[in-house]
Amino acid sequence: MGHEWAIRALARSVATDRVAHAYLFTGPHGIGKTTLARKLAQAWQCAGDNRPCGACPPCQKIARDRHPDVQIIEGVPPRYDFDKDPPPPPRANDWERRALRIRQIRDLERGLARAPFEGRWKIVILRRFEESEEEAANAFLKTLEEPPRHTRLILTARDASLLLPTIASRCQVFALRPLAPAQIERALIEKYNAAPEHARLLARLSAGRLGWAVRAHENRARLDARNRYLDELNVALSEGRAERLLRAESLAKKSDDLPELLETWLGWWRDVLLIQNGDGSRTTNVDREDALRDQAHRFTTEQAQTTLQAVRATARYLTQNVNARLALEVLLLNLPGK
């Protein structure tokens, strides 16, 4: 679903067996990079006629991440102990920071020295390669330059510019573009049995990322978190100085949530501005139109604009290790008021 151009290009290369040994899929979290990588892995290992058929045993094993020759590797949490700790759980959210460590690259090299077990190729999907530690990336370069002959490598990353140029330049790069909301809405209804109203909201909130929309549909936690973040914002707007300072303090304690919280707030103020500019049909937060209209009316365009910029600046400060509580205090105190 979606990314048809990339699929067509990849399908052609699979059909003619003119295949690069390394691919890099780039795009925002949840846009479908790993899904596309699994599809490509299926095409390579498929035992059916119309590769990937999706029905043969290899295709099905890959779909469930159970194929012995298709390995998905991604970073581990800080201070993860490879010898003692159990396999790390899935990320709590898209912003949770992990690191791809050199130990993982060494294990990978060891595995690649062996031929495939039951498939045609040994395929490794390295997710979010921008999270690799420098020594891991450097070690990986060696594998990328001289991969064993039965190897196929697929990297995913938010953006090619976040990787070492020596790595990106050795891969065939596919930059995945966001899908149209209507396309996501249709996919959610037809393939994932979402209720139309729910599908419409998720499609808007997803910003063109089908993977995000599907995960939010399958796991209420994401939508719950988004609702909580918007409630925080709306309550803060009606609060005075002292209450806002307390709120900044409590928000700062959940530092892992902050990138997503600020992303949500950014979307909110974008919507307010859209309505003020008479462009209300393009808003994202379609389930809260009344509140959006109310604020578009209550605040000036200038206030909305300034707040949007302040939220964006705060998100940037937080990536630069600025004290989270201070940054949030400044932001909250500068929100427009009653």
């Binding site: 060494r106 020295a113 062996r114 031929a115 495939p116 077990f117 039965h150």
Partner: protein
């Protein structure tokens, strides 16, 4: 699946396949043993994706089927049972297997057999037959010299070559090299060469104990796997991809001194020295002196530790050539002396800085080379 088999057969089969169970893997099914009915027998299999071991045991099959059960749980339970008949029945819906033996009952939860990797079988690849005792001896005399650290994957393997009627195994870890040849009863049509993980070969040696018929070795068409077929057991191993170093160039072609000693005497002297060598980078020195008017040829073995003291041991030797002093790692010496299975061993040396070459007296099918250690004066 519904069947019964004898406890001792099942316990033995599980102990054979369990070495291939993966201890930590992202694929949970690799921690399980496959149990499947096959032509009136019970097939057991395990794999860690580098190696797969399959073994067939006698069973009375009432209903065909297959499942996978956690290796540790199944093994521990079966080992705790009396030597009696075990009845086994799989509930396909819950993937739970009921085991009953004498007055013991267990229900073990498994994973669908569909999840288990497909283990390659003997295809129409080239086949070589080899006597089990010869193969076991070749494995024992080479695998110990393979590297255990993974920084150079090819060195964790053993180069296995078949050409005409000659089979060769060679292993090296950068400090030593072990090469062993044997003659095949049936020559191969085309030469075959593959790097097999040392661990897999050690497993092969381990299960050849009561094998009487020749072992059939097959390398699959695309040369990615090798299969060892025994009467009731098959071991498949992934081959290691890469170029094995040209070992013939490591073996010195000439020497100044050839020293022949009784293997067990050298073994004992090295053992005594290693006590002191442990604290001195494991160095033992061999002072080799030819016969002279004072007496016969001898080798003086010494080790010196700054903390614990030193020791000296003398053994009789037949020395042809110049006197020489050379130092080796005590562990390397002990390991090669341990697998020789020959009463006499010859050491060929050129100088204290050149590799030492160990050969069997009167035989040319074994060569072992050890890099010398630096002799500080």
């Amino acid at each position: 699946m519904k069947l019964s088999c004898m406890q001792d057969n099942l316990a033995k089969g599980l102990s054979i396949v369990s070495r291939a169970v993966a201890s930590r893997s992202t694929l949970p099914v690799l921690g399980n043993v496959l149990l499947a009915t096959e032509q009136g027998r019970l097939k057991l299999a395990a794999t860690n994706l580098e190696m797969a071991v399959t073994c067939w045991i006698g069973a009375k099959v009432e209903e065909e089927g297959a499942t996978t059960l956690p290796a540790r749980v199944l093994g521990d339970f079966v080992n705790s049972l009396p030597p009696d008949r075990i009845e086994m029945e799989l509930n396909v819906k819950t993937q739970t297997t009921h085991l009953k033996c004498a007055r013991y009952d267990a229900n073990i939860k498994g994973i669908d057999a569909q999840e288990f990797p497909i283990i390659p079988t003997l295809g129409d690849g080239k086949r070589i037959a080899i006597e089990p005792d010869a193969l076991r001896e070749m494995i024992e005399q080479t695998t110990f010299a393979a590297a255990t650290d993974e920084s150079r994957p090819v060195l964790t393997g053993v180069l296995v070559k078949f050409e005409k009627d000659k089979a060769t195994l060679a292993a090296a870890d950068g400090f030593r090299l072990s090469v062993r040849h044997t003659t095949l009863s049936e020559p191969v049509e085309q030469p075959i060469s593959a790097i097999i993980p040392a661990k897999a070969l050690q497993e092969v040696a381990r299960v050849t104990g009561d094998q009487e018929d020749p072992i059939v070795i097959a390398v699959t068409e695309n040369k990615s796997q090798v299969l060892f077929k025994l009467t009731n057991t098959e071991i498949v191993s992934q081959l290691i991809d890469g170029q094995f170093p040209d070992f013939t160039r490591i073996i010195p072609t000439s020497h100044q001194t050839r020293t022949t000693v009784t293997t067990s005497e050298l073994q004992n002297a090295v053992k005594a020295s290693s006590v002191f060598a442990r604290e001195a980078m494991n160095t033992v020195r061999l002072q080799i002196a030819p016969a002279n008017e004072m007496g016969g040829g001898k080798v003086t073995i010494t080790a010196t530790s700054a903390e614990s003291g030193d020791n000296v041991g003398d053994i009789d030797a037949t020395v042809d050539g110049e006197p020489v002093e050379i130092a080796f790692n005590a562990r390397y010496l002990a390991e090669v002396l341990n697998i020789l299975r020959a009463p006499q061993v010859a050491l060929e040396t050129a100088s204290s800085a050149s590799p030492g070459v160990f050969r069997l007296v009167g035989r040319d099918d074994f060569v072992h080379v050890i890099m010398p250690m630096h002799i500080g004066k």
